[in-house]
């Protein structure tokens, strides 16, 4: 007998809604997240009590946390999942040490990681991701810097810019790879979500009012430390984000926040050998699923941004959809789930239309990596440069795992989460083959680096049972 009918991995909008729907339909559900409070990236809870925040995000997050607290879902928050086996045993470490449990079905709702296309000096302390900047602002209540430059593309660019201004920070510029036309193309889909469009317009207005210089179709080419500050150099760029000849602008700031979109976190679905496909629009490699998130592996589901970037609103509906589908598959409350499923399907389709338009703004642009200089570091953990990757490719590396073995790119403690997408793109570009041909780094346990001590906990050596030696 398994401990639970369903284990959900990740307590963002997708995971919480999957857990709630499945639990309401009668399943025994466990929910895991490494963060101490549910909410995921978008509704990340404030790090300390007593902060007032009237934003729609905060309210949505509080509503999610309240619904979870009132439900019968067993929530294992503050628990980092480090392994998942083919028979759905989940191993985690939490404040009380390690813990394992089993289930009949699994919903993966592990969200995303941010992609940053490297440029000279991107490893300099003080250069952070746009996603990191949203966490500083939302949860830590810290300004990225007294003066900040935001750069990259997609909606997080606007979110960080507006958030910085609202928190009283000084913005020295917004450097957007996209041009006005890119945003305009997203407009029809944005009209499907007037609520979010309103938020976007409020951001645009705040940015305009602040008279922050807006560098459209520009890109960061270099960041150099200068005393305690950072000197950033910008250049005009083409549609792909490749720097063009023309005037270089210099901006001196405390912090540079930069990001080029999000990639789905597929470690767990890869570890369990679900079938995957590459989709530039969806953010990279994604598990192949039906519209309820069912993968090629029986009773394994993936929902939310982990299944392809589509934003918070779509993630929530996707979660509900999978929770219901899973309840039906496991035989809970047979029949009566159909109307709810139909409704969730329609709501998801609508939210996803908006989310996909946003995701397109964040997709890795064809040719973007071509502008990276040979001595720029690609793999931060192992300090592997573009030149070394190109050399391995010319020496015969044909897929990313070969590249990893030859150069150590992706072999460090981040396990290729930071560099994987860009390294694969570099290889595919140089070989002039589709991304599918160069593959993806193999997923390995532990999913995050951990010490043996964290797994074993404190123990007395004498307590370890030692089997008697076999008679000679």
């Amino acid at each position: 007998m398994t401990d639970y009918d369903l284990i959900v991995l990740g307590a963002g909008p997708a995971g919480v809604n999957a857990a709630l729907a499945a639990s309401a339909a009668g399943l025994r559900v466990a929910l895991f997240d490494e963060n101490r409070a549910a909410g995921g990236q978008v509704y990340r809870a404030p790090a300390f009590a007593g902060t007032t925040d009237d934003s729609a995000e905060r309210q949505a997050g509080d509503a999610l946390r309240e619904a979870l607290a009132k439900s019968r879902v067993s929530a294992f928050l503050g628990h980092q999942v480090w392994a998942v086996t083919a028979d759905f045993q989940v191993d985690a470490v939490g404040p009380q040490g390690s813990l394992s449990c089993t289930s009949r079905a699994l919903v993966v709702a592990s969200g995303t990681t941010e992609r940053v296309v490297p440029f000279e000096g991107w490893t300099t302390p003080g250069v952070i991701g746009l996603a990191a900047a949203t966490i500083l602002l939302k949860s830590q209540k810290v300004l990225p810097g007294k003066t900040t430059l935001v750069a990259g593309c997609g909606p997080l660019l606007a979110a960080v810019a507006a958030g910085t201004l609202k928190a009283g920070g000084e913005l020295r510029g917004i450097v957007d790879v996209a041009g006005f036309g890119d945003w305009l193309r997203a407009l029809p889909a944005m009209l499907a979500r007037p609520d979010i469009l309103r938020q976007g317009l409020a951001w645009a207005w705040a940015i305009r009012r602040s008279r922050t210089p807006l560098y459209a179709r520009h890109t960061l080419v270099r960041v150099i430390p200068e005393g305690e500050r950072l000197r950033a150099e910008l250049a005009p760029c083409d549609r792909a984000g490749r720097a063009l000849p023309g005037e270089r602008k210099q901006v001196l700031v405390d912090c540079v926040a930069v990001g080029h979109g999000l990639t789905p976190a597929t470690e767990i679905t890869r570890l369990l050998h679900a079938r995957h496909r590459y989709s530039r629009k969806a953010g990279g490699w994604v598990a192949i699923t039906d519209d309820c998130g069912r993968t090629s592996r029986e009773r394994l589901y993936v929902v939310g941004d982990a299944a392809g970037i589509a934003g918070a609103a779509a993630a929530a509906e996707h979660g509900t959809l999978a929770g219901l589908a899973c309840a039906r598959e496991l035989g809970a409350a047979a029949g009566s789930l159909d109307p709810a499923l139909g409704q969730a399907q329609r709501r998801h389709a609508r939210a996803a239309r908006f989310g996909h338009a946003m995701a397109r703004l964040m997709a890795l642009r064809e040719g973007h990596v071509q502008g990276i200089a040979a001595d720029t570091i690609i793999c931060r953990c192992e300090d592997v440069t573009r030149g070394e990757i190109d050399a391995a490719c010319d020496a015969g590396a044909r897929d990313v795992n070969q590249l990893k073995a030859w150069t150590r790119c992706g072999m460090g403690p981040c396990q290729g989460r930071t560099c994987g997408d860009v390294a694969a793109e570099l290889l595919a570009t140089r070989l002039d083959v589709p991304r599918e041909a160069v593959g993806i780094f193999s997923a390995r346990t532990p999913l995050r680096p951990m010490t043996v001590g964290a797994l074993t906990g404190a123990f007395v050596y004498a307590d370890i049972p030692i089997p008697k030696a076999a008679p000679l």
């Binding site: 300390f48 990681t113 302390p125 952070i128 991701g129 931060r380 192992e382 989460r417």
Partner: protein
């Protein structure tokens, strides 16, 4: 100490120097706010590195707390917490 606008303020140490933060803040965010950007050096080229993703993914914020290696962005500050740099030696050369 209770401060109406800042919540509970705590003191902690990094490399022997004292810093203050709000209880519950992550070590990485608290140091960043205090202007401490470099947290370690990369093992191969010994280049300065600091927090980057703030979500436990990139592993750039590795520090020592109580003799254990932890991620500064996943560790909360608390009163008297003593944080130091990891003694990273050149691993490959």
């Amino acid at each position: 100490m209770q401060d109406a606008n800042r919540g509970v303020v705590v003191d902690f140490h990094f490399e022997g120097r004292r810093y203050s933060a709000r209880a519950g803040q992550s070590v990485a965010a608290a140091l960043f706010a205090e202007g401490v950007r470099g947290l370690r050096e990369s093992p191969r080229e010994q280049q300065p590195r600091g927090m980057f993703c703030l979500m436990g993914s990139c592993q750039e914020c590795l520090v020592m707390v109580d003799g254990r290696r932890v991620l500064a962005c996943q560790t909360e500050v608390s009163e008297g917490l003593s944080v130091s740099r990891v003694a990273e030696v050149g691993l490959h050369d």
